[in-house]
Amino acid sequence: MAILSRDVYKEFEDVVGPENITDDPALMPSYFNTEHAAIVLPGSTKEVQALVKLCNKHKLRFRAICTGWTGMFPRGIVLFDLRRMNRIIEINEKNMYAVVEPYVISAELQAECMKRGLNFCIKGAGSNCTALLRGHGHMDQTTSGDDRNHLAIEWVTPEGEIVRTGSLGSSDEWFCGDGPGPSLRAILTSAVPPGVTPGVFTKAAIKLYHWPGPTKFPVVGHSPRYTLSHIPPNMMARYYSFPSVEKMWQAEIRIGEAEIAYELMGFNAAMVAANITTCNEEDEAMFKRLSREVQGPGFFIIIAGNSADDFAYKKKVLENIVAEAGGKSLKTVEDPEIEGILLCQCIRISASIRETFRPGGAFNSIPIMGQRDLTIKWAIGAGEAKKPLIEKGLIVDDGGAFFGWGVEHGHLGKTEIFCKYDPSNTEAKKAVEQWQKEQTARAFKERYFALTMGDQTEIGPALSNYHIWWQKTVKAIDPNSVTTESGPLV
């Protein structure tokens, strides 16, 4: 049964054209298996605005998605699939920012940036996702992460007003997110699709960073084993393992202080194995091999020099720091073929599909933000709690490991731990959800910020009652309650 009356449907259709709207129930399962009132494909900000106004007129809730990996989608919403809004509006080399529409994926923008000696933060969700996604990624050391990278934004509010934030609010310039012009940072930076956008981001400027690597990687071979014909000049990738977590952290913090890492990713052996292998069976064998090779926890690091001298300097500093912390380089990663795979994989793809979805089809994760040495301690506990699930064969054996990295060469960063499992195994699913709940609760109790924390009313009181203010704000900008909330809010 159609949710929208034909008259209302027609109003939406008049905005986007008949080929860009459907309420056919047979197509809905491709959009998260839910009954949506309609799927619409706006092609411009104007169309988004008109659609939002119609949603207000008819009190219909809506949500916008880009490539639309995950999210919560209540029944009856109008889903805006932003697939047609896929233009790179500008790459401003001088002021180092790029302006994109929502369906430009990171791989597209990054390729353009690299041609110009620039790069930007590819989020952990992968370069297959929108470039304007909020989040952290492998290159946070040099490209920072999350809301730090958003400059001016064009925003269609939940009422259908077009608001241009930051410098765009007072001029045609995109260079700053906070002025001259309205900042709205507190409202907007938790709102980039597919987060909890009250309204729709139709364009955003993203901060770009210097890229010392090649204009394109010399990728050779065939999928799924792409390698590099050679390691680009002044670049190096290594994995170091350490005798203890403390030693690893000591090295990590000193590398940060020395500002020598292009990328520092606290991978565990399981994640290295997943990234360099082409199927599950190979992955399992490689994990066993690497588990024997490592002496303890470790990290993956990329050094990139602006010149041969700069590279030599960074390499020397790295070697000293690692040696003083008792670190050991993984021989497998020193193999130029593996080194090349990891260089390209971690800079160009970032997505962890091989390490998350390939084994069983699902994973549940707890990402926590904060001071790395403290969050690592929490993660060790969460890792221990994983072990009984591994022993029972409910989740994939990764040695109970976790991962994480610092942002902007600092001691603050992200630490994350996940369980990979087969979601059709109900016992496994239940056990993983229970693990996630317990470990999130422990994080909250120990005063860490976990992205999986529950309802705002639950956590709000511990965070200056932010939820009361947030609800008031949402009420003010969305008086008809037409936007949906899903995912992390803060």
Binding site: L27, T67, A111, P359, G361, V396, D422
Partner: protein, 421 residues
């Protein structure tokens, strides 16, 4: 077993959207980054490889709800397999097989496309998918070729429906035969007795018609005693090499594409390209010679219960790694005076010419739309000509070029070889 056997694979879809694009490390910018013609044209997620799996999986669970829009989704897919390659960079799961099975199911349930029904009815009646004027073997008149039904030959040359009946495409069959004659190859043809390989019926969703065709044709091929079959049609190549193997018709028949045979002959010194061709070209990998042309792998196994989607014995996936990519390139590069440049989307992540999966017949506008996209990519290389190794590609590109008023030329590889020897 049908679609059901892929329920596990479909459940594995994590909805990452990688199947819409070429593999991420190959993306060179916003231009030419898409792998799937269907999502690139129709935009709704349902048109992507993953979207198709999401729908098929839900319908297996909740019942099949055929709507016009759903059938539009089903039949507007070239079954080009680009989604399989991009997905299988990271995932261990079947993508193209369930998409194909879903189409079979539609046909079994009588939910067909009228245009495809018509083409298959023609096959049943005349033995060809094409509107035939004249006899199948007419193209070979005056060439004095061996009749493989009467004489023993080493190699059987299969011209295919398009090169047999289409007035423009007949030149490919003729030229191929002349080149083989020059190289002194002991080959023959079946002439009027040649049959349709059934590939296009398979792609359109009519599995039974394909199977009947394959059984009949293999019996005839076997009778000739030829150990090797050569064809210049990528659809035919895929049928003989992959589908006939999958359904156990092929046995020990060696299947070669003309480009593979030419590459071999050039290497052995039996074909000597000496004359300058003087042309800047780029090469288009036909889906069914390239990524889908890799050998079929027979496998049977069971899922190992537990935390992973793994099988005993381990399941090999056809990820496009072993397609036929180099022989055509080797041949082109061996021609004197050729300047060769690659396009952005090549080999396993090549963009489809648009003609496959019955789209040519059911939605010519979409088919040519995809071809135009490829022509634009070829033009961007600075090439004067796009070279392919399949008459269907050549036909689509020619139409696209004409509609675009472009000066780009289109050649089959045999035409260039013939010019050089």
């Amino acid at each position: 077993m049908g679609l059901e056997q892929y329920q596990g694979d479909m459940n594995m879809c994590c909805r990452c959207s990688c199947c819409k694009f070429i593999p991420m490390q190959k993306v060179m910018g916003p231009q030419f980054s898409y792998a799937c013609p269907s999502i690139a044209k129709y935009n709704f997620h349902a048109y992507s490889g993953g979207g198709r799996l999401n729908i098929a999986s839900a319908m297996l669970k909740n019942g099949f709800n055929y709507t016009d829009k759903l059938l539009h989704v089903v039949y507007n897919c070239q079954l080009c397999g680009a989604c399989q390659v991009s997905c299988n960079y990271a995932m261990d799961m079947e993508v193209l097989e369930p998409i194909t099975e879903f189409r079979f199911k539609c046909v079994e349930d009588g939910k067909t496309s009228p245009a495809l029904d018509k083409a298959v009815a023609r096959l049943r009646k005349t033995g060809s998918m094409l509107e035939a004027s004249g006899r199948r073997g007419d193209w070979a008149k005056d060439l004095n070729l061996k009749d493989a039904t009467k004489e023993k030959v080493d190699i059987l040359y299969h011209a295919g429906c398009l090169s047999s009946y289409d007035k423009d495409a007949q030149k490919l069959a003729k030229t191929t035969a002349q080149v083989l004659q020059k190289a002194g190859v002991n080959f023959g043809i079946l002439g009027d007795a040649e049959m349709c390989c059934g590939s296009r019926a398979y792609q359109m969703g009519y599995r039974d018609d394909f199977l009947k065709q394959a059984e009949k044709y293999m019996a005839l091929i076997r009778k000739t005693g030829a150990r090797t079959l050569v064809t210049g049609c990528a659809d035919g190549y895929h049928a003989f090499k992959v589908l006939y193997d999958k359904f156990n018709f092929k046995k020990d028949l060696e299947v070669l594409h003309t480009s593979e045979l030419f590459a071999r002959l050039i290497k052995e010194g039996k074909l000597k390209p000496r004359r300058k061709v003087n042309l800047a070209v780029t090469y288009h990998d036909p889906c069914r010679l390239g990524r889908l042309g890799e050998p079929y792998i027979h496998w049977q196994g069971k899922k190992i219960p537990g935390d992973k989607f793994v099988f005993d014995p381990p399941k090999p996936y056809r990820r496009g790694t072993n397609g036929v990519y180099y022989p055509p390139r080797d041949v082109i590069k061996s021609l004197p005076g050729i300047k060769f440049t690659e396009m952005t989307r090549i080999m396993e992540y090549s963009w489809c010419c648009g003609a496959g999966g019955g789209v040519n017949e059911s939605n010519p506008e979409f088919s040519i739309w995809a071809a135009k996209e490829r022509v634009r990519e070829a033009i961007a290389t600075g090439a004067e000509a796009i070279v392919s190794t399949c008459p269907w590609c050549e036909q689509n590109f020619s139409t696209a070029i004409k509609e675009m008023n472009s000066s780009l030329k289109v050649y089959d590889i045999v035409e260039l070889v013939a010019r050089a020897i």
